[in-house]
């Protein structure tokens, strides 16, 4: 008996909870999934239903890019809010003048080479 291989295409998508439309879509997916429908069935039914509607204009590239930027900014704000530092080292003017630890000096001395000088003619 010959073995039959079904042809398939993998579709993957990331849904963001901070996007109202995608958050709603995610909860619809969870609700149907809870009622026994597989992701495959949910996507298939959704796409078939979508195909019966007139296709709206695709949002332009700028709007989509702006959405990406907003997401990136939200991520940074959220990380800073959680105590994460995403910043350059402060300028030296703000230095409190704490002397360098001897252990750091020792490790730098241990690594330093004498360098090379031009030989006297």
């Amino acid at each position: 008996m010959s073995k039959r291989t079904r042809k398939s295409v993998v579709i993957s998508a990331r849904l963001y909870e901070d996007d109202p439309n995608e958050a709603t879509a995610l909860s619809v997916h969870q609700k149907w999934n809870k009622n026994g429908y597989s992701t495959n069935e949910i996507i298939t039914r959704s796409l078939l239903a979508l195909d019966e509607q007139p296709m709206p204009d695709k949002p332009d590239r700028l709007a989509s890019r702006l959405q990406d930027i907003i997401r990136e900014l939200q991520g940074i704000i959220s990380r800073v809010g959680q105590g994460g530092i995403v910043a350059a080292a402060p300028p030296s003017e703000a230095a409190p003048g704490v002397t360098i630890d001897q252990s750091l000096i020792d490790s730098l001395k241990g690594r330093a080479n004498p360098g090379r000088r031009i030989e006297a003619e």
Binding site: G84, A95, I100, L104, A112, R116
Partner: protein
């Protein structure tokens, strides 16, 4: 004493004079013939740009003009440590920084994995350089050379005050810090322990940097827009760098979307950084702080930071100045070396 901190990276040549002047130009150099050089001089009513020089009797185009010149000699890795290559780039950097002849010292950076070539690097730069630039003849004598490793420069820039003798950023004192330096041709790691000691035993250099992904991006972009780019043997390097950052390539009077190609190229380097950080250093969780330095981090930091499993991540300089962090820190390290007697 006159002096110059030099980071002759694979992508950009960065320098900072001991008096504070900073200069960066693309790593590109083309030897040209005497007649070509004279033709170029004649084409300018005034002095030609700094990119055209005669160094110890031979003529060269360096920097932006060499990129535009088309064919550019580009040595990578330790192959660049020779008097006729990194020596020429160093001489060009010196001549661009000084208007008059002088004796000077040079403090040159190298990736930690190139420590065995430090002697070669020093020998390439030390000595007399007779240079014709801006229609003037100058003589520079590099009478002393020393070296430091690039990520240590980034670390010192974040850690020390301008005079190199105090902590500028006490938040990083006594911390176990992982320093990640993404450069043009290499990505380097060093770490410090809680006592501030730099553990050079676990430093690491991978021969992959921003230049590699720029090349990959350019190939993918040309494949996608093969009709538009069929006569473009090469893409303007500055446009490629911009497109990798923005996802839009400006060319032929148009703006071409290339977000997918930019993402794919970036991901190659990001995956390497994450894989090595996890496999060699146990990931960001093992450290009190992570410090990002090098021009590559300037382009990639917003993508890497969320993936490093650490909430205390610092940049060694402002994002658009990260390529200069290592030479800035190199100057602080030089001053510290002077203060503690390593350099007389």
């Amino acid at each position: 004493m006159n002096g110059l901190v030099l980071d002759a990276g694979n992508s950009i040549i960065k320098s900072k004079t001991f008096s504070g002047g900073e200069l960066a130009f693309p790593h590109a150099m083309t030897p040209i013939s005497e007649p070509q050089y004279l033709d170029i001089l004649r084409s300018y009513a005034d002095a030609p740009p700094d990119d055209f020089l005669r160094i110890n009797g031979r003529c060269y185009v360096v920097g932006d003009s060499a990129e535009r010149f088309g064919v550019s000699q580009h040595e990578r890795g330790p192959a660049r440590y020779g008097r006729d290559y990194v020596g020429i780039l160093a001489a060009a950097a010196i001549a661009r920084n000084y208007n008059t002849s002088c004796d000077l010292a040079v403090f040159a950076a190298h990736p930690p994995g190139h420590i065995d070539y430090a002697d070669l690097l020093m020998a390439s730069i030390l000595g007399v350089w007779d240079i014709e630039i801006r229609a003037r003849s100058l003589r520079f004598t590099v009478s002393y050379v020393n070296t430091f490793d690039e990520p240590s420069g980034g670390l010192m820039n974040a850690l020390l005050t301008e005079d190199g003798t105090s902590y500028a950023n006490p938040a990083l004192r006594g911390q176990r810090i992982l320093v990640i330096d993404i450069g043009g041709g290499t990505t380097d790691w060093i770490e410090t322990d809680e006592t501030g000691q730099i553990d050079y035993g676990v430093s690491h250099t991978e021969p992959l940097g921003i230049d590699d992904i720029l090349g990959q991006f350019a190939r993918a972009f040309k494949a996608r827009y093969k009709n538009a780019t069929k006569s473009a043997n090469r893409l303007a390097p500055e446009r490629v760098r911009e497109a990798l950052n923005t996802g839009v390539f400006r060319g032929g009077g148009d703006e071409l979307d290339c977000r997918e190609e930019a993402d794919q190229a970036r991901n190659q380097l990001i995956n390497l950084v994450l894989r090595e950080t996890r496999s060699r250093y146990g990931g960001g969780f093992n450290y009190d702080a992570i410090l990002l330095t090098g021009g590559g981090c300037g382009l990639l930091h917003s993508y890497i930071i969320p993936l490093l499993e650490n909430s205390n991540i610092h940049l060694a300089a402002q994002p658009d100045e990260l390529h200069l962090a290592n030479v800035r820190g190199g100057l602080k390290l030089w001053r510290l070396y002077k203060a503690i007697g390593v350099i007389s």
